[in-house]
Symmetry: C2
Subunit: 202 residues, 2 copies
């Protein structure tokens, strides 16, 4: 484990806590400052290390950046998500790849995993579940790059899959606008549940 100064009960330093959790907010407006492929690569090369079941890593990302591609995406968003999706320098379509098992011979140690998963009725659910965990990692990874994330569930998933995800078994699970926050980017922060409402001990 890395030699990191403990900060009270947490090992993560307070400024890093702020960057990822406390000061970071879901952005609803963005500046025009581009988000580069190098930034996306740095984010991916960080979050890729976080765990998934059987190291399956089913999350796939289509980064929608070009004006023509944005014009194809925006009409597929729920109405309240259109203006911000048009304005964001990049919008990440997060997808669960139901054919993740094809990579198993490289990413997992059991030589039978690919064939076992190919025959498993639970594979699609495993893809969606683990890609959704990775979505949590990805949102924090965007923040780790000093960028604001604006995750959205309001869009026509079937239409997004047809338009952007091809025939390869990829299911759209969320779309995340990414960029620098613009004027009036934040809504008022809503309350969080108390520890006692969420965690019980037995």
């Amino acid at each position: 484990m890395t030699a990191i100064a403990p900060d009270g009960l947490l090992a993560l330093p307070e400024d890093a806590q702020d960057l990822l959790f406390r000061e970071a907010r879901t952005a609803n407006t963005f500046t025009s400052e581009p988000v580069t492929d190098e930034q996306l690569r740095a984010i991916y090369d960080l979050v890729k290390w976080a765990p998934t079941a059987m190291n399956a890593q089913p999350l796939r990302i289509v980064a929608v950046r070009g004006a023509a591609a944005k014009e194809r995406l925006v009409p597929l968003m729920a109405e309240g998500n259109r203006a911000k999706t048009a304005a964001a320098p990049v919008s990440l379509i997060a997808a669960a790849d139901e054919d993740f098992h094809e990579h198993m011979p490289v990413i997992w140690h059991d030589p039978d995993a690919r064939d076992n998963l190919a025959a498993s009725p639970g594979r699609a659910g495993m893809a969606r579940f683990n890609a959704t965990i990775q979505l949590g990692y990805l949102i924090l990874g965007v923040r780790a790059a000093g960028l604001a994330a604006g995750p959205m569930a309001g869009f026509d998933a079937a239409a997004v899959e047809k338009e952007f995800l091809g025939d390869g078994g990829r299911r759209a699970i969320a779309i995340i606008n990414v960029g620098r926050p613009g004027p009036g980017a934040w809504f008022e922060r809503n309350r969080r549940l108390e520890f006692e409402q969420v965690v019980t001990t037995v």
Copy 2:
């Protein structure tokens, strides 16, 4: 945004990157050092700030720590998960609360949200999806506390719900062993997919 020194393309300092992503590993053995309620509270009070749709926060956690409670949990785990679950100082049952909408009047600004969600056939899916994103946050939050996480999907979910989650619409989505890593805690690290295999740009 916090004044944090940029580290190349990422704003998160390198030692924090290591703590959360690069050096942290899924633990399969644990020391007997306890994990306290204060530590669990510090983890929750950090990860609670990360976003969910409509601020729904459907994740619920049952922390199984006592010997009697552990004896009820261990037989419900898949065989390969039993020894480590017995050894972990605490095992967190992560659940999706399908009745999260009851909290809406406090956690969301739309006064109609509770009733609209009460009538929505999509509520259970929304609970599972958002609790799973929160599971990603939680795994990183455990690491932020300098602890090792061992997330598991291999258990009898229906039996865990019956034994630990009562009748309130809570669905078990994962169980995470938490503690200090013991001897031989790590398996060999498996390969991650390359950026080009995961991210495409349009």
